[in-house]
Symmetry: D3
Subunit: 325 residues, 6 copies
Amino acid sequence: MDKTDDGFFRPVSGFDLPRYAGVPTFMRLPLVPFDHPRFAEVQVGLIGAPWDGGTTNRPGPRHAPRQLRDLSTMIRAANGVTRVRPFDLVNCADLGDVGPNPADLMDSLARMEAFYARVRAAGIVPLTAGGDHLCSLPILRALAKDRPLGMIHFDSHTDLFHSYFGGTMYTHGTPFRRAVEEGLLDPKRVCMIGIRGPAYDFEDRDFADAVGIRVIPIEEFHDRGPVDVMAEARAIAGDGETYVSYDIDFIDPAFAPGTGTPEIGGPNAWQALQVVRLLRGVNIVGADMVEVSPPFDPTGGTAFLGVTVMFELLCVMAERLAAQD
Amino acid sequence: MDKTDDGFFRPVSGFDLPRYAGVPTFMRLPLVPFDHPRFAEVQVGLIGAPWDGGTTNRPGPRHAPRQLRDLSTMIRAANGVTRVRPFDLVNCADLGDVGPNPADLMDSLARMEAFYARVRAAGIVPLTAGGDHLCSLPILRALAKDRPLGMIHFDSHTDLFHSYFGGTMYTHGTPFRRAVEEGLLDPKRVCMIGIRGPAYDFEDRDFADAVGIRVIPIEEFHDRGPVDVMAEARAIAGDGETYVSYDIDFIDPAFAPGTGTPEIGGPNAWQALQVVRLLRGVNIVGADMVEVSPPFDPTGGTAFLGVTVMFELLCVMAERLAAQD
Amino acid sequence: MDKTDDGFFRPVSGFDLPRYAGVPTFMRLPLVPFDHPRFAEVQVGLIGAPWDGGTTNRPGPRHAPRQLRDLSTMIRAANGVTRVRPFDLVNCADLGDVGPNPADLMDSLARMEAFYARVRAAGIVPLTAGGDHLCSLPILRALAKDRPLGMIHFDSHTDLFHSYFGGTMYTHGTPFRRAVEEGLLDPKRVCMIGIRGPAYDFEDRDFADAVGIRVIPIEEFHDRGPVDVMAEARAIAGDGETYVSYDIDFIDPAFAPGTGTPEIGGPNAWQALQVVRLLRGVNIVGADMVEVSPPFDPTGGTAFLGVTVMFELLCVMAERLAAQD
Amino acid sequence: MDKTDDGFFRPVSGFDLPRYAGVPTFMRLPLVPFDHPRFAEVQVGLIGAPWDGGTTNRPGPRHAPRQLRDLSTMIRAANGVTRVRPFDLVNCADLGDVGPNPADLMDSLARMEAFYARVRAAGIVPLTAGGDHLCSLPILRALAKDRPLGMIHFDSHTDLFHSYFGGTMYTHGTPFRRAVEEGLLDPKRVCMIGIRGPAYDFEDRDFADAVGIRVIPIEEFHDRGPVDVMAEARAIAGDGETYVSYDIDFIDPAFAPGTGTPEIGGPNAWQALQVVRLLRGVNIVGADMVEVSPPFDPTGGTAFLGVTVMFELLCVMAERLAAQD
Amino acid sequence: MDKTDDGFFRPVSGFDLPRYAGVPTFMRLPLVPFDHPRFAEVQVGLIGAPWDGGTTNRPGPRHAPRQLRDLSTMIRAANGVTRVRPFDLVNCADLGDVGPNPADLMDSLARMEAFYARVRAAGIVPLTAGGDHLCSLPILRALAKDRPLGMIHFDSHTDLFHSYFGGTMYTHGTPFRRAVEEGLLDPKRVCMIGIRGPAYDFEDRDFADAVGIRVIPIEEFHDRGPVDVMAEARAIAGDGETYVSYDIDFIDPAFAPGTGTPEIGGPNAWQALQVVRLLRGVNIVGADMVEVSPPFDPTGGTAFLGVTVMFELLCVMAERLAAQD
Amino acid sequence: MDKTDDGFFRPVSGFDLPRYAGVPTFMRLPLVPFDHPRFAEVQVGLIGAPWDGGTTNRPGPRHAPRQLRDLSTMIRAANGVTRVRPFDLVNCADLGDVGPNPADLMDSLARMEAFYARVRAAGIVPLTAGGDHLCSLPILRALAKDRPLGMIHFDSHTDLFHSYFGGTMYTHGTPFRRAVEEGLLDPKRVCMIGIRGPAYDFEDRDFADAVGIRVIPIEEFHDRGPVDVMAEARAIAGDGETYVSYDIDFIDPAFAPGTGTPEIGGPNAWQALQVVRLLRGVNIVGADMVEVSPPFDPTGGTAFLGVTVMFELLCVMAERLAAQD
């Protein structure tokens, strides 16, 4: 699929319609659900996953897609630093929300996997706005059905725990344990960055060590800096297909208070963007921004930071996709 | 135009997709802008007017259409009291937002009038979510171009002042003075309900008396009660074409804090709905809900009350329209 | 079990320790979990049910027990209107929270039923702070295991729906449908008060009619007033064992904004207390206050109203229990 | 002193300068401290008492004068119901704030008494914006130095307690006990309206009964209504000099959340104004609005209600003063 | 004009009157409007410009002067780092607010220009608290009437756009384009620091390049650091008369959320002060702090940061002015 | 006293009971007041000091212990960086709150001193959650009764002023002046870090210089960095008994807005933790976290940062205590 030229896949400009006006879609892109006549032309699909059924602590990410869409109307068309214009490079659209079942966890996982299988079948690269981190599991089930992916994972938690509450296997603290077990991730090509905070135990870290996942804790991140750390991350991911999972709690809570399980002492907002720009060249087959929690984000600042990160993700994804064509 | 039966003009049900999910349109109706293939089938159009250029005090209503759409996803399909099902009676759609020019008042008035002229030309009855109260003026210019309308007006202010700041003629305190001067309203068929609050002077009230507008101040409203007052209002409006303008500051600020110029001591929320149900039978050719100001409504409660009033308005409008067919 | 006299079961006075000080238990009562040496002496147990797994819309009630305990430190020892002193009449204690499994709905239902079975076995009358309304189901399963109860139910919704999302049977919109099906409630002795709001359909109301549940909608409540309505409710409940379920969304959202599914136009705060005082004499074997949602209650005002209702409930429960002794 | 005619004592109009502009004084009146050349012409002085040293629970009223001044810029010049124009009748001015000592209670009481003694010596009738309710005591010490006053007191608490924390005599729960003991109030001419809420004990009520203070609890207020209750209050106060003390927690917390010790079930906002209008004719020698607590009033709605009550107080005070001249 | 010594132009000390007390003027300085007897003695005038008529996105800066005054009462008398005591060096006063016309953009521009012409005529150096960034244009029209000024401009946007909405020339995104066109600024002596964020296009940057304005984007700022960047800025401004314009959105939104068009990734608060201290020696003839938006600043933290920046500006201005005398 | 092994002194795990559930004690530890049977086994006691009677500006810290307990339920069992497990090393417990007298400053000081004398007599090392900074004085009176202590003090203010308001000796700006005067601190072993902000005068700094207290102002902190600064601080404290006082306003207000007297430009959250980790090896005999003010911390982020600092303090205290055994 090539980039089309008729302007359909362009965002509305704030020079034409004020940014606070209009029905809010992701980045003011056209809304193109599965049954839309131009669905087949989409190259990168922005998708909302309004579900937080895996949340063991403070809920809220189910509301994130709506708030992220709202704040995403503040995003414009060109990257101020890299000058990439993603909407000039690939056809981007808002595919709408995957419909969860808030009262049935397993049903929600199935609904999400089916949705992303359809996205993948259409050859669309998904950029997801979660939802809690358990959302990444059904996405990976759809995208990595036939071979494991690498992953670059920004977070304050590894989400590699075995289970909670005496045996509950599916929570937002376990998705990547399941993904490794299910062969969806190649642990040797997985790098987790920013891990920090008090712990109950280090069972997750022991698992990472055992299977070969590289964990870069926050003290190492602060010591080495983003450029050095990201060079290592790119090397770990290599040229293979890679998923990028970005938990908003990677960022320090002063910059991103709107999340359910914050941990003190993370990167600042500039670093939060910088690490994404340093993904340039990675072969990204999907990405997500998860754990934004509007009830804990009264000013919307966390969502605005979240969508700015999403725009940076979109820029590196679009550049790579355009180069592939 | 008859009501269609193919389900297109139905809202999404919360039993199918959770109410917090999906791109928020008014009442989860389809978004049908002017260039949409099914535009010609619309009978009642819900329209956002994100503009507050006439606001002389605390701004914010420009943000109201977005917040009202968000909260309107809490609305369902049938009226719990009257059991009216408006979406079964007429084709309703979200027509999107009229695009204002936030830095040019006169240009905004012109853009709005042109938009509503097009709506009227299509035979669509508009239900507007403002915006500040000056929005009502260009709407009336479009709807009442060829003959004056009656009006039932819920508000704590008459908005009948001559001018502000030494001669400024267009503010949210002057729209109905202009509308009477321009022959858009028949003052004998205008009734204003809920007027209250300290005043600079009573020049507005003197004007009302002079031209024959009936003003029912709040103390009279509290004494007589909604049923009696609304019987008089219906009699004043008569059988002729009537506009309904509902300023959210009609309601007491404890129920509707999110507005720029609140006045203490208004009706409660139940009365706020009741007065609309008592419009049953009025020949409504257009209606608006104005002055909702999200920056002063941190919990969204005002917007939720606002859209509930809009749903009540829609029910009486749909019933009347269906009866006319 | 008689009331003890050694002061153990008394709340801390604000004349001794300021009300903002100290670890917050319900109404500053002693914390007496199952393994506490004085557990067997408890007559009325205040219990937190921090679970909202049945919530289909905006989550949050899992946080309510903590916020309700916090605000409950504002409650004092004697009822200002009835002059009842519940802590003089019966031994009251905070039994702590039932521990849910936030990622497993069925496990949570089982945990809650087991907890309340233990409470019942100890002869303790439970007064629960939810949690969403699905919490009432496992409580009823424990309390009504051997015979159906009557119920007086304050709410804006009947919570009598059959299922959601294509067959999900357990949500906060279905508990009483299940309870009737399971024989936990005698529908002829059930009265639901305050029902209102737009509806998808009236399937719930049809079910109520079919099984003989009396539904008093809000327009009837406003017309007849609390005294008359509650006389009917008491008559319906009769002398038999009765559960009282109080959903905070019974009250108008201006008074109780902190809830996930508010409906416009409910009773005011005075009426909210008055209906409880009018329960005097009812044979209450358990009661709950549900659907308080702290994320939507930034000022804590909803929780304060909720605990004041709980205090009124406690007064009528204590009076009846003391009279029975 | 007669009303002057040169416009100096007039508020700035919102038709000239927007209401959000300008340094905020009470009701946009001139700031006339003791050393101002026109101080001697002032007839009614609006005074801030930014002190909450007597608060035993949640602090905050020290911030009230500033927030009340801010919101008071929303007040205009004429009463919408009674059409009284207080600024036409008497010379009103903002006298500034009395300077407290936040770390020394007894010093603060002395500073306040000295300030009000000076106000009284100048023949100025003070209308105070507190501050917590202990502020009323030094005001009464200054105003009632030579003979006891009557008092009409709107509140949810009697503030007649003997002491707190084992003997602390000066708190915001004790001012009127002290005032009666010191002979500042004639208990036979004191009426307290709106008393409610749970109590530790009824020692305050017993004291009221013993000395002859008339307490009208909230259930009686709701039963009889404002007109009847206020007729009794006026009769109790009689023709003698009377102080009016208005605690914002008289009003239901949904209307006035911004206060430290709210009690559920009070009057609504309309009734809150109505009771003041029903003071017409009372010989008011001073009045206060206390216990507004900005930290608990994020939207400013409580302060706006507070200053609207102050404006109603000013109207009845000015009318009476003008009639006396 | 020399510094006076009678204490009139000193701020009130928090050791005398608590900082939350008193009518809030800028930095607790005397309020000295044009008609005040001591107006002629003022050397630096702090002025509020409560106007946001040029705002194309989220409004609010019209409320900034009031909130900035409020928070400015937290400022004390001496700079903790440089130990400069500005109020010892020059006569500072609060000149009050320039009165805008919120419903007429061109009238507001004219009113502001006239006000500042009067300030300039009195030989007063203005330090303005906006308002949105369009306020800088009429200020420059007054200050640079007879020769162009240099400018050091802290911002995330250049505000150099040609027009919006199809030809609207006056918005908060265009003031410096107009100022260059009108000859008010010498582009060779203009330096813009901190520019960032997604863009619609780079037309503004192309204009800057064409006329010789130096733009230092944020990535360069982060790379070089404040000391190096400010050395260049001082060199660009040179010894000539220079205006300093400080848009609060220069600072990262975590530190300054209260603004209408935030951009992620700016300087932190320490750097925000540091760049001002590095203006030492620049020949500043006027300065402003703009785009603070209280509706988006619920805690007041942005305003507090804004007034702290203003205090740093005042210190460098006072030092230079005192040295000139 | 040795560490016990029966699990009593362990926190509840979030893998067993969700972190939002249960009555909130500090770090989910057991509540062990003086009369508890296991009181004698406690080694480190976490204590709330809900008092802000010394606050001269914006009040609120009296509410901090409750909010800190609430947020402390987010803390887990092991330090993510140092891997210290404090609850494995020493017996930790929540000792409850010291009961102040909010209306009597001197009585509160006496109550607090008596409480801590009892703690000290039991051989318990106290870790206090204030309260305002005046709380540190009675704690020092109890802990340093018989010999002066060293102190490492993180703050933006020295709190070394002589008096306020014309001679008031006890405020939150004077505790360490009093402590030095009373011989509770050895000034040669006191180091104050992070001092900044505008000042009225530098009398406090002059006093520090005179008695030999080392003050490291913020500009020096930013220049040298935490590692270097803390090496000096450790050297100053030496091996002797040392108190650590941590005022939350040490941290930049973007990270810690919830405090009464913030100062712009402090350390970020990572540095805020780092300085505590760099206390390793200091002979800490007591520590506090003061000036957290919930009314200014609507999201709870400040409290969460505060308790994370407390956990870091606990880790270094426990390590040292365990090493001593």
